[in-house]
Amino acid sequence: MVYNFKEEMEKPERLAGGHRLCAGCGASIAVRGVLRALEPEDRAVVTNATSCLEVSTYLYPYTAYEDSYIHSAFENAAATCGGVETAYRVLKKKGKIKENFKFITFGGDGGTYDIGLQSLSGAMERGHDMVYVCYDNEAYMNTGIQRSSATPRFADATTTPVGSRSYGKIQNKKNLTEIIAAHNVPYAAQTTFMGNFKDLHEKSRKAIYTEGPCFLNILSPCPRGWRYEMENLAEICQLAVDTCVWPLYEIEEGVWKLNYEPKKKVPLEEFLKKQGRFKHMFAKGNEWMIEDAQKYVDDQWERLLKKCK
């Protein structure tokens, strides 16, 4: 099916306006983008980990979801989604439900890379027919920008603050997409908000309509945590991809495929300087930080290219 931006945008929204997420936040774009890939006639149950997204979109008595929705706790979104999907299978078998439902989970990087990793791994291993979507904003934004294992090295977060003896986070970012791929799931991919949303849309569609446990990792910038001007969101996402900080790739039935190769790799500085959390890297005497970060990105990129060949 050929992607038609205009047609997609004309579909009725499944995440209603009026939710309480910040302007310039990636999470709502991720949710909208993924849910838009559902066929209008298909029903869905959305599961959510405790997060910015959860407390902003389902604040009693208002829900922003047009579909059924369940939130239970921070670390169990995958198991919760698996529970709904299991109930669906048994009720369908018993003839109590006739319609087709799809099961989509949204978790932030805290609820996915960290506290929810066990639950996610369990659900992927058990093979529930579901899509787990991580909207990765690289820190615990809901509780006030504490570092997560998705936070990149050198980022100034509230539990890795820059100080006279600290240059921000010490460790590099965990590679969750590869961890999930190691579960041999039928489909896992990384994407973000690029141009006309073709990449996000096609990956969401594949994930939703591939049977079995599928995983999407969506880089979803956070204006509060990353400290950028909200209108710069799209530009930052483009830079993340063009600097190869966030490569777009997918693993389909074990086959790795790079979806976007920048014609000319943009220096990492261009991505870093748009964000307040990396400001200290540009101070005099800290040139080594940018060099180190660039080297890490280059190494990761080379490794990925080998996997995708």
């Binding site: 389902y58 369940i70 169990n76 109590k96 319609e99």
Partner: protein
Amino acid sequence: MAIRDRLSGNEAVATAMRQINPDVMGAFPITPSTEIPQYFSSYVANGLVDTEFVAVESEHSAMSTCIAAEAAGARAITATSSCGMALMWELLYVASSSRLPVTMALVNRALTGPININNDHSDSMGARDAGWIQIYSETNQEAYDNFIQAMPIGENKEVRLPVMVCQDGFITSHAIENMELIEDEKVRAFVGEYEPENYLLKKENPMAVGPYGISAYYMEFKKQQAEAMKNAKKVILDVAAEFEELTGRKYGFFEEFMMEDAETAVVIIGSSAGTGKAAVDMLRQQGKKAGLIKIRVFRPFPMEELAEALSHVKAVAVMDKAESFSAAGGPLFAEARSALYDLEDRPKTINYVYGLGGRDITVEDFEHIFEEIFRIAESGNTGEVYRHIGQREADETRKDVEYKRYQLENNNWRWQSNGL
């Protein structure tokens, strides 16, 4: 015709589960409840039930699965013990506040610190304020009967609360008893179909579960839960009455044993009540007016009813198989003594913490307890209220006696150490 059989407590509960044929079971193994999902898996493997069995990676995910399945419109069950329940802790509150009548078989076991696989009630008592109905069983028969009553209670529209049916780890879970089973079709008819009004998979009405409940609404949620727990009292008795019609076996909030003219009484929960009854029998033969109350329903707590049942008694010993480290007594003691407070002429009340981590309690221990409360009844002097019984003391004069007991327990350990 009822079916006579010999089953362990775990198998009895698994049998009840098979007869009910629930939609979803989420489970992770933990001693001593492990056999329940094992038995149940074999029913699944042999096509005896339609249930989807989800072998999750932790108890946390087991409860998450059950909560989600129940919200989706299915009937969900699990079984666990001890640390397994502790890992579910956070979600026990989610189940009750979302008003999802999940049913859990809890095979009581001590909580770690140090690790111990034997019976006491520290797991369920630790979760006593989580908003779950708690029903306790003395025997395998009761564990079976209580499990069959659990769903009609929890799923009642006036209640809609999760229910845990508790039995004592190893003591009943692994011991085989003669018991009477109900025919499959009668169990199914008694428990009925699960027909929630609203659920996630209802096509004409999408639903959202698990909101952010801000201060403007949170207290109303809690008040409604509290009201549901009050409503559960009547429903528990109604279901018990129906169950009595079906089986002839009578259940209430508690069982009164030789209480009619009792001057002293022991209040207790679970399998140790049997030992207590043997002591009461013996004392009665000696002409002593001893009695016993075995609490079956701890949540909701039958406050007025318990006060009424104890109103004519002069001295009471409340037995706790769990510490609460209040420095003032165990959890059952706090509830029972509070219940007695409204009586004009209330009995003297003391507390014994006993049986922690599988420590035996004997008929002799109960004799000693009754001696104490008869003395209190006579003198009116309570003395130390918060007591422990059955533990070794750093007392040189009692060393020989206690040492024998210590050896016996070590021997018991050999057969009990069959994995965690």
